[in-house]
């Protein structure tokens, strides 16, 4: 990893953290409609993986999609405006938090349907394979999603047809209020790779450098026509399932430990300093810049207009009648 990459990763992780902190704050005021699922604490997964992706590569995401969007290069202003339901949003305010998308940067959409991303990632991989453009597709999904039928169908098809798709489980311990261990009969998600005769790797999802390494190998394999990999990144959902969740199902010790002792950004900061990738001043400047960018995004969203009434029935089809 070189300085440029370290600075990119540090910025992206900060962008995500700051973005989610802002969303959390504003959501509490009631200004953001609907519900939001925050990615804070899991930054290392999205960032470590997307570090290896180009615009022509696609990712699929989940209901907890802000982090994936930012890591894949979605515009912060457009994202924040989308979450506010504004016309300037990436989806013109019609998608919202659970459907942020930007095909131009290869972001195939957050998804309100658990497990919805598996087949979509297979389709993006199929396109890359048939169009022979060297692209890969990455499917981010949660531990809860790993029990859905689409997990099985998607990975089996990708493996059977040897498509360039990488499956990245974000095992954050819970699907809503249900512990991973209760809902999943396998010992680990990575174990399930054997059911598809593909490599399965467990990685510390809080260590962005480890995620970076594991993802590099998997994405290279995919790009080289060697087929899918299943990565299981162990992380933790420091926030509630959605904002407003009382998290009665978490133990006090976990609640205390995770955001404090195992913070992926703090870890990477120490790593970057120690390995002289980034200096203290550089880190501080990047932190400030990130904070500013997110604050600007909030401003942008605040001052944007809501969609015109006509938008209600526009873009259902390309053409109709």
């Amino acid at each position: 990893m070189d300085k440029k990459m370290a600075s990119w990763m540090f910025t992206k992780m900060n962008d995500i953290r700051n973005f989610e902190n802002q969303v959390q704050k504003i959501f509490a005021t009631g200004e953001i409609p609907g519900f939001v699922h925050l990615y804070a604490g899991e930054e290392a997964v999205a960032v470590g993986v997307c570090a290896h992706l180009e615009n022509l590569d696609y990712i699929t995401s989940t209901h907890r999609g802000h982090g994936h969007c930012i890591a894949k290069g979605c515009d912060l202003n457009g994202m924040m405006a989308e979450i506010f339901g504004k016309e300037t949003g990436l989806c013109n305010g019609k998608g919202g938090s659970m459907h942020i998308a930007d095909l131009e940067v290869g972001m195939l959409g957050a998804n309100g349907i658990v497990g919805g991303g598996f087949p979509l990632a297979v389709g993006a991989g199929l396109s890359a394979d048939i169009l022979e453009n060297g692209g890969v597709a990455v499917c981010f999904f949660g531990d809860g999603a790993n029990n859905h039928g689409t997990f099985h169908e998607g990975i089996n098809i990708a493996a059977a047809l040897n498509l360039p798709v990488v499956f990245v489980a974000e095992n954050n311990g819970f699907g809503e209020a249900t512990p991973f261990e209760y809902a999943t009969s396998a010992k680990t998600i990575a174990d399930r790779a054997i059911a598809y005769d593909i490599p399965g790797v467990r990685v510390d999802g809080n260590d962005v450098t480890k995620v970076y390494e594991v993802a590099e190998e998997a994405i290279e394999r995919a790009r080289n026509g060697e087929g899918p990999t299943l990565i299981e990144a162990i992380t933790y959902r420091t926030s509630g399932h959605f904002e407003g969740d009382n998290q009665a199902y978490k133990s006090e010790s976990d609640k205390e430990k995770w955001p404090v002792e195992v913070d992926c950004i703090e870890q990477f900061k120490a790593y970057a300093l120690e390995n002289k990738l980034l200096s203290k001043t550089e880190l501080e400047e990047l932190e400030k810049a990130s904070l500013k960018a997110v604050e600007e995004a909030v401003e942008f969203a605040h001052h944007s207009k809501v969609p015109n009434e006509e938008a209600l029935t526009e873009n259902v089809y390309v053409s109709y009648k």
Partner: protein, 343 residues
């Protein structure tokens, strides 16, 4: 009957009573208890459903009868069907009706058809509880109203309550019914309060309720749309237009008689359905009336529905998406006007 409780609590009470009366009644769904196997939550639930509707039932009846499921709608819905066929009486929760795409085969091809395919030698006493409706800012994949899709399926019964009293009585009936019943709860009604008696009572399926009597025009309104109809009716009453409001309560079976009798009296029919406009329950009722009550009609049957579009996220658009009283008032006036002209 002074006690007022929420729609959500009314539904909770119905399940509580049903589970007390019959130990074959079990609850299945995602986080219907919540926190399974968590050390400090042995006999407590963390959630009681994502909307808190099943809160307390886990505590009371234990995790053997209130069963949290992996996120596998096809798996647990199919299991619910077979559990019903083999001796239990499950209440199976589909958190949002939008997730039906993951379990449609189990509902449509297994559950709804088993009795017929088996030549009548099976019963499927299964109740599917699910939430529907826009207005919560939940966007395209969490806001649909899909009761029409299930009304189309022979072998299923479909219920859509509009208020706490009905919710409790209809749900108790649904649970006791020996057929498969899909029970739709508008998520924006959960906090609605209304008078609800304590204890056990039932309301028959296939029996509509006349919510307001009137001679000028009939409005059939589904679920929350009853409120829209009532608001429109209040406005219209000030202009001396008296509408009759019918809440069908169950869509399958449908109480055709009550609707037809009303239209016979008023000569005019408007239907409010929050679903998208094509092949929905509004068209179904309209077609039934023009078939069986053609001679009663003095004006076109009008339908006020969501547009032929997914649910938008932006609040201003979402508000336009849901049928509004003002559209109903305007439409009724047009219909009355037409009649006046033709008189």
């Amino acid at each position: 009957m002074a006690r007022k409780i929420t729609f959500s609590k009314a539904i909770n009470e119905a399940m509580d009573i049903a589970m007390e009366r019959d130990n074959k009644v079990i609850l299945i769904g995602e986080d219907v208890a919540g926190g399974a196997t968590v050390d400090h939550l042995q006999d407590e639930e963390a959630w009681g459903g994502v909307f808190g509707v099943t809160k307390g039932l886990g505590n009371k009846f234990g995790r053997k009868r209130v069963i949290d499921m992996p996120i596998a709608e096809a798996g647990y819905m199919g299991a619910s069907v077979a559990a019903a066929v083999t001796g239990l009486r499950p209440i199976s929760e589909l958190m949002f009706n939008d997730f039906i795409g993951s379990a449609m085969d189990e509902i449509m091809n297994q559950g709804a058809k088993i009795r017929y395919m088996f030549g009548g030698k099976a019963e499927v006493p299964l109740t599917i509880r699910t939430s529907h409706g826009a207005g919560a800012g939940a966007a395209a994949q969490h806001s649909q109203s899909l009761y029409g899709m299930l009304t189309a399926i022979p072998g299923l019964k479909v219920v859509v309550p509009s208020n706490p009293y009905d919710a409790k009585g209809l749900l108790l009936t649904a649970i006791e019914d020996n057929d498969m019943v899909a029970f739709f709860e508008d998520k924006t009604l959960y906090s609605m309060k209304g008078e609800v008696p304590e204890g056990y009572y039932t309301i028959p399926l296939g029996k509509a309720e006349i919510k307001r009597a009137g001679d000028d025009l009939t409005i059939v309104a589904i679920g929350k749309m009853v409120q829209v109809a009532e608001s429109a009716a209040n406005q219209l009453a000030k202009q001396n237009v008296e509408v009759e409001i019918i809440d069908p309560r169950s869509l399958s079976p449908l109480d055709e008689d009550t609707i037809l009798q009303s239209v016979e009296k008023t000569g005019r029919l408007l239907i409010i359905d929050e679903a998208n406009p094509r092949c929905n329950v509004a068209t179904d009722i309209s077609a039934m009336v023009v078939d069986k009550g053609f001679d009663f009609l003095d004006a076109p049957i009008k339908m006020v529905t969501a547009p032929h579009a997914p649910t938008p996220f932006a609040t201003n658009l979402e508000q336009l998406y849901i049928p509004r009283a003002e559209t109903v008032v305007r439409t009724v006036k047009d219909m009355i006007g037409e009649l006046t002209l033709s008189r």
